[in-house]
């Protein structure tokens, strides 16, 4: 992406996010928009790993959950200030991701998928069974998010916070993708040995992007713990991981704005199709299959390619 189109994209997103609340008739819609922002932030991070660096993770809901529970437990049970708990959660998740990344990212394809799947499931089981700390299946409440005497109240406050964070995340992600670091990530996706022989330490970059995407998920999780009235283990389970990957794949791999579109679309979908609630996994599976068959590059890159063909 050239410098100009990056600013154009960021500007368009800023205007859209600023104008959106006017179009939302009540707090129910604002709530959906906030949830879409949460998912979009995680997906922009996950897309760095999956879309740009070409490494799959089927366990990212685990990192989201760890961040969320770190915040909930530290604030609720130990009385930590929410911001400190958020940073502690991010540090824990970052260290954990760092520790597991090197052995796990030596694996490729199905094996990497299985390993990350296992990590996600382990985290989910621990959250479910350590009821003394986490509240088990009943969940735990983190209370409102506050910094000093300032307290975040109501959906609209949350919307502005999350929209601002989404914008910041997109800015940082596009910066990274366009830098020598980002080129190294994309290069190791294209050919690991090809990247190595011009000096790219592929193992180091894979670990780095894994940690970055995990920390982004953790920070989103920490905030989500305060946003949701009751944090339950379903937010950290396997199904949530699949949902996140589907958002990235559907929106468009290696497209930051695709990840946002994918997250927004798949957050809204269950709201629109409430009648089909029990069939949500089936619909998600259908979308995944349809994407792979009909537009393997994902929605946004496919549409962009169509436009470029019409206007040569």
């Amino acid at each position: 992406m050239s410098g100009l189109s990056r600013w154009a994209g960021l500007g368009a997103l800023a205007i859209f996010l600023a104008a959106l609340p006017q179009a939302l008739p009540n707090n129910y819609y604002v709530d959906v928009a906030v949830l879409a922002c949460f998912n979009a932030i995680i997906c922009v991070g996950l897309n760095l790993l999956i879309g740009y660096a070409g490494q799959i993770s089927l366990g990212h809901a685990g990192f989201f959950g760890l961040g969320a529970y770190a915040s909930a437990v530290l604030v609720n049970s130990y009385g930590w200030p929410p911001l400190l708990a958020l940073l502690a959660g991010a540090a824990i998740v970052g260290l954990m991701a760092f520790a597991i990344a090197r052995p796990v990212l030596k694996l490729k394809g199905h094996y990497l998928a299985m390993a990350t799947l296992g990590i996600g499931i382990i985290i989910s089981i621990v959250i479910n069974t350590e009821a003394g700390i986490t509240g088990g299946p009943d969940g735990i409440a983190a209370g409102p998010f506050s910094i000093g005497s300032f307290k975040l109240a109501g959906e609209r406050d949350w919307y502005w916070l999350m929209a601002g964070l989404l914008l910041a995340t997109v800015w940082l992600a596009t910066n990274l993708v366009d830098s020598p670091v980002g080129r190294a990530l994309r290069a190791l996706h294209g050919s690991e040995v090809g990247a190595e022989v011009v000096g790219v330490d592929t193992a180091r970059y894979k670990v780095m992007v894994f940690v970055v995407s995990a920390v982004i998920a953790s920070v989103a999780g920490s905030l989500f713990a305060h946003y949701t009235p009751q944090l339950t283990p379903t937010k950290a389970d396997f199904f949530k991981s699949i949902e996140l990957v589907t958002m990235v794949v559907f929106g468009g791999m290696a497209s930051t704005f695709g990840a946002i579109v994918g997250a927004a679309f798949l957050t809204m979908l269950p709201q629109v199709l409430t009648v089909f609630e029990d069939y949500e996994p089936v619909i998600l599976g259908g979308i995944m299959m349809g994407t792979m068959i009909f537009m393997p590059k994902g929605l946004v890159p496919t549409i962009a390619a169509l436009f470029n063909r019409r206007r040569p």
Partner: protein
């Protein structure tokens, strides 16, 4: 003074001796060709030199420093770069960015400045783009400056790999069959590029089947057969060596 010294080098795959007890040296500033029939161990040798494979035994010294235990990216830091017989292009990237990846070692690649796109990063990127454009012109790819790598023909991709390798500013450039799959005109153009590279002070080692190219531009030729050194010397010495003729044309021809 030698740039590369290979001593008693062995590589076995199961029971197969792909390279056995090989020794040779490469002097700086020369074009050095490695030839031999298919399966002679040429590409295996390249993979051993560049750290993609680990030798079963023996040693390789680059600038008098053993390369043992170093990963390919570390050898690239020491000044080694290569191309591949089976292309290792980044097909997910535009052509110019393929070459820009070659500038990796010469750019600021710290995480935080990249994340915040500090002015130094943007400036370094602009310079890398300029340098890469220059290199694409140098290898004859000016028509593909705006192309995506996955939209380029085979011959152009071969050159793109050379441009990427050159972008790293190596002391030693290893080219694995740079002329494979190219027509006669394209091969002569690659000839010129290789000679120009060597003249600029880069030592070139190439594996090649195009004998016209090998005999025309090499200062020194190493002939391999079944992983062993069959002959070594100037193009004329090798051309007239009875063992070489036998290996290439069969026993009856000599």
């Amino acid at each position: 003074m030698t740039l590369l010294r290979v001593e008693h080098l062995n590589k076995e795959f199961g029971g197969v001796h792909a390279v056995s007890d090989l020794a040779f040296t490469i002097n700086p500033g020369t074009i050095h060709s490695i030839i031999g029939p298919n399966g002679a161990g040429k590409t295996t040798l390249f993979n051993l030199i560049t750290g993609v494979y680990t030798p079963s035994s023996g040693s390789i010294l680059f600038n008098d420093v053993p390369t043992a235990g170093k990963a390919p990216y570390q050898l690239a830091e020491d000044g080694m770069s290569r191309t591949f017989q089976n292309l290792q292009i980044f097909f997910n990237m535009p052509a110019i960015e393929n070459v820009m990846v070659g500038r990796h070692l010469h750019l600021d690649r710290r995480f935080l400045p990249s994340l915040l796109r500090l002015p130094g990063i943007a400036k370094g990127d602009a310079q890398a783009r300029e340098k890469s454009t220059e290199l694409m012109r140098f290898v004859g790819l000016e028509a593909y400056l705006k192309a995506d790598a996955d939209a380029m023909p085979y011959g152009a991709l071969k050159r793109l790999e050379i441009a990427r390798a050159l972008a790293a500013e190596p002391k030693l450039l290893l080219l694995d069959e740079p002329a494979a799959g190219l027509n006669a005109t394209e091969s002569r153009e690659i000839d010129e590029v290789i000679v120009k590279v060597a003249k600029s002070g880069v030592t070139v080692v190439l594996v090649e089947h195009d004998m016209k190219m090998v005999m025309g531009i090499s200062d020194h030729i190493l002939v391999l057969d079944y992983g062993k050194k069959l002959a070594e010397g100037t193009p004329d010495q090798v051309r007239n060596n009875p063992d070489v003729i036998k290996a290439y044309l069969g026993g009856g021809a000599a």
